[in-house]
Amino acid sequence: MDTAVAGGSDVNWGSASEFFAMGGYAFYVWGSFVTAAVCLAVEVALLRGRRRNALALVHGERMRNEATA
C-alpha cells in the first residue's frame, strides 16, 4: 500500500515494510491476525469435509435401502 488513498493510508504507514513491521510489534499483531485467519479457514474446510461425509452417509443408506427393497 504505497499509494496515497483518499482517507489517508499514508497517515499510518510510509511504506509496505513499515506496515509489516507494525512498529516493532509484528510478531504479536500478525500472530493474532494470521492465527484468526487460519482458524476461520480451517473451520470452513472442516465444514466442507463434514458435508461431503454426511452426503456419502445418506447415499450409502439409500443404496442399502434400494438393495433390500
Binding site: M22, G23, L47, V58, G60
Partner: protein, 249 residues
C-alpha cells in the same frame, strides 16, 4: 392467529429447515466477507496509532470481537440446548451442537490473541487473573459440551446430558463479563459501555464494531452450514434426506 404458530413450527422440522438454511448461509457468508474486508481496512489503514501502546493495540480489532462472540455464542447455544431439553424438538438440539465448535474457536482466539497482546503490554503471555481464567473456563465448557455429546451413543440422550451442562455453564458468562468489576484484575475494564461515553477514538470503535459484525455473520453462516451436515448425519436413514438431489448421485 394459529397461522403464525403453524408457520414457525413448520421450520422447526429438519426437513423444511434444511433447504432454508442452505439458501441463507451464502448470504451470511458474503456479508461476513464484506464486513471483514471493511473491518480490516479500518483496523490497519484508518484507525490511528495508539499513543500509549503503539501498533500493538491493533490486536483489539480481533481480540475484542472474538471474545464477545465466544460469550454471545455460548448463551445462544445454551438457549437452543435448553429449548431442546424442554420442548424435545430435534432441530433445537442440532442448532446447539452446530454452534459449539464455532464458539470454541472464538474462545480459543480470544485467549490466543489476548496472550499475544498481554506480552507486550503487561510483560506476560498469561496470568491467573479473573477475566483470563473465566474465559479459559468458557473454552473448557465448550470442549466439555462437545465431548460429552460425542461420548454418548444415543443422540437424544447426548442432547439432554449436554444441554444440562450447557445450561449450568451459562453462569460463567456473567462472571466473565463482570470479572473486571468484581475483582481487581490486570485486564482492563469493558471496552464499550452503554452507560458512558466511548473512551476510545471513534474510528477504533467503528473498526471493532464492524469486525464484531463480520464475526457475527460468519458465525451464522458456519452454524447454518454445520446444522445442515448434522441433519444429514442424524437423519441419513430417513426418506427426506435420501430424496435430496445432492444425495442421489
Amino acid at each position: 392467529m394459529s397461522n403464525g404458530i403453524v408457520h414457525w413450527f413448520r421450520f422447526a422440522s429438519p426437513q423444511s429447515f434444511y433447504p432454508l438454511a442452505g439458501k441463507m448461509a451464502p448470504w451470511f457468508a458474503a456479508l461476513a466477507g464484506l464486513l471483514g474486508a471493511a473491518g480490516l481496512w479500518i483496523a490497519f489503514f484508518v484507525a490511528p496509532t495508539d499513543a500509549q501502546q503503539g501498533e500493538s493495540y491493533r490486536i483489539i480489532f480481533v481480540h475484542v470481537p472474538a471474545a464477545w462472540m465466544s460469550m454471545f455464542l455460548y448463551v445462544v447455544m445454551a438457549a437452543w440446548a435448553g429449548l431442546g431439553l424442554v420442548l424435545n424438538t430435534r432441530l433445537s438440539s442440532m442448532m446447539a451442537h452446530a454452534i459449539a465448535p464455532t464458539g470454541a474457536m472464538f474462545a480459543f482466539l480470544a485467549l490466543w490473541t489476548g496472550a499475544l497482546w498481554g506480552r507486550p503490554t503487561w510483560g506476560t503471555y498469561w496470568v491467573w487473573d479473573a477475566r483470563l481464567t473465566s474465559e479459559l473456563v468458557l473454552f473448557f465448557l465448550y470442549l466439555g459440551y462437545m465431548s460429552l455429546n460425542a461420548a454418548i451413543d444415543d443422540p437424544r440422550r447426548g442432547d439432554r446430558a449436554s444441554a444440562v451442562l450447557a445450561l449450568v455453564g451459562v453462569l460463567n458468562v456473567p462472571i466473565i463479563y463482570f470479572s473486571v468489576q468484581w475483582w481487581n484484575t490486570l485486564h482492563q475494564g469493558a471496552s464499550v459501555s452503554l452507560v458512558r461515553a466511548p473512551s476510545m477514538a471513534a474510528t477504533m470503535l467503528t473498526g471493532m464494531l464492524v469486525m464484531a459484525l463480520a464475526f457475527w455473520m460468519y458465525s451464522i453462516a458456519a452454524a447454518l452450514a454445520r446444522v445442515r451436515a448434522i441433519m444429514l448425519e442424524r437423519e441419513a436413514h430417513m426418506q427426506w434426506t435420501q430424496q435430496l438431489p445432492e444425495a442421489v448421485t
